[in-house]
């Protein structure tokens, strides 16, 4: 299957053109953030404080990497379960987040906010962290270093392989895919 090459950050129109099931290869900068970082970003927004990273048009990869072994820029870095970020996601979408990369289901509230803001949810292969680490060219901690593996990192990726799980119209591969293979009885 052919992958469409996409440069990050992605413009609004381009984000809206992506369809559930599309195979993509992403190149450019993105941020990693998971549970603890989402909690802090949300607390900052609720208190009217500036965010440590600008989210406008940006991509968040739900991931907490392993430490980089000598000679590597990063350790294994696969996606974590996105649903745990659902409670924080609509607010981040409201503040400009446009692409999320993770694995697993999203809540109806997140999908509604994605439709409203024209955002997309992409999937990387869960459990393939070693493989995915080979697509990372650089990694630096840019916020919340005290969170260790949960700190926000800025990664630059090259041909990072993903599939569109939920598009900006709310179509979900997690619904259409399994429905095709389900055997009744």
């Amino acid at each position: 299957m052919e992958r469409r090459h996409i440069d990050l950050p992605l413009g609004d129109l381009a984000a809206r053109s992506l369809k559930a099931g599309d195979l993509l290869a992403l190149s450019g900068p993105l941020f990693t953030a998971r549970d603890a970082a989402h909690k802090r970003l949300t607390e900052a927004l609720e208190q009217g404080l500036p965010l440590p990273v600008a989210l406008q048009g940006q991509t968040i990869y739900y991931a907490g990497p392993c430490p980089a072994p000598p000679g590597q820029v990063i350790g294994s870095v696969g996606p974590t379960t996105s649903g745990r970020m659902d409670a924080y996601t609509p607010l981040l979408l409201q503040h400009g987040l446009r692409i999320m990369i993770g694995k697993g289901q999203r809540s109806p509230a997140v999908i509604a906010a994605m439709r409203l803001h024209g955002a997309v949810y992409l999937g990387a292969t869960g459990g393939a962290g070693a493989l995915l680490s080979q697509h990372v060219r650089s990694a630096e901690v840019v916020a919340y270093p005290d969170l260790g593996p949960e700190a926000i990192r800025r990664l630059v990726v090259v041909d990072f392989p993903v599939i569109v799980l939920i598009d900006s119209q709310g179509n979900s591969l997690y619904q259409s895919g399994p429905a095709r293979y389900r055997l009744e009885g």
């Binding site: 299957m1 099931g21 603890a36 991931a63 907490g64 990497p65 392993c66 430490p67 980089a68 072994p69 590597q72 350790g75 294994s76 870095v77 696969g78 974590t80 379960t81 649903g83 694995k103 697993g104 289901q105 999937g123 292969t125 869960g126 459990g127 393939a128 962290g129 070693a130 493989l131 680490s133 080979q134 969170l147 260790g148 593996p149 949960e150 599939i163 591969l173 997690y174 259409s176 895919g177 399994p178 429905a179 095709r180 293979y181 389900r182 055997l183 009744e184 009885g185």
Partner: protein, 280 residues
Amino acid sequence: MREISVDLIRDSVARLCQDANILLPPDIQAALREAVKQETSPAGLAVLEDLLENAALAGKMHLPICQDTGMAVVFADIGQEVHITGGWFEDAVRLGVADGYTSGYLRPSVVSDPLLRQNTGDNTPPVIHTRIVPGDQLHLTVAPKGFGSENMSATRLLSPSEGRDGIRRFVLETVEKAGPNPCPPVVIGIGLGGTLEKAALLAKQALLLPAQSVNEQAHLADLERDLLQAVNRLGIGPGGLGGRVTALALHILAWPTHIAGLPVVLNMSCHATRHAEATL
């Protein structure tokens, strides 16, 4: 009485933490290759091929299979003729986990308190299950458990009248609800009987069985087959993208239980059902 030093225990635990996280066991690799033959979904096949390539790369480059290097679960079968010398057994296991994770560039994924949530920085403490067994050897199994799948596990205290059908309904409900979250294809461990905590422990131990193993009791072997087939008819498939292979293996461990009860626990694991063992 045979003496085993805490230094040997610490060093063995450290090595097992790294082996378990970096080397995908041959039985799971064989199950993945078999899954490639069964899978008809193109998206599902692509996920299975990613996982096989990932395992090969992890071994070659000495990288963990998955960035979630888990909470370290350590099973120790301690022969009653063994005398542990030089310190306390649980300290040795804890130090071994800290050393194994730190020197192996494995992610520290443990917080010191479930509500305060401060990362301990060295993946300690582990969860330790000890048993006193006959003999003069000490058998260690390190089974790092990732939480993408752990979170999708479930417990139900069925009524005896619900029987086999009740177990089946519970298993299918749990797997269906988990959907893509536990990184299918999954390995499923089921604990049946005993008490609440015994069933949970059996479910965890069921995950340690070789992928191709079958229960020795005919009625449980039949239930394993039936449940695995039913799970794979759900269509969730590799990555949850749709397909024929949702689970690579399903194992049941059973224990006598109370006249009033039928406890069942499903412990979900991803394809990286990691464990490494050593006998001292």
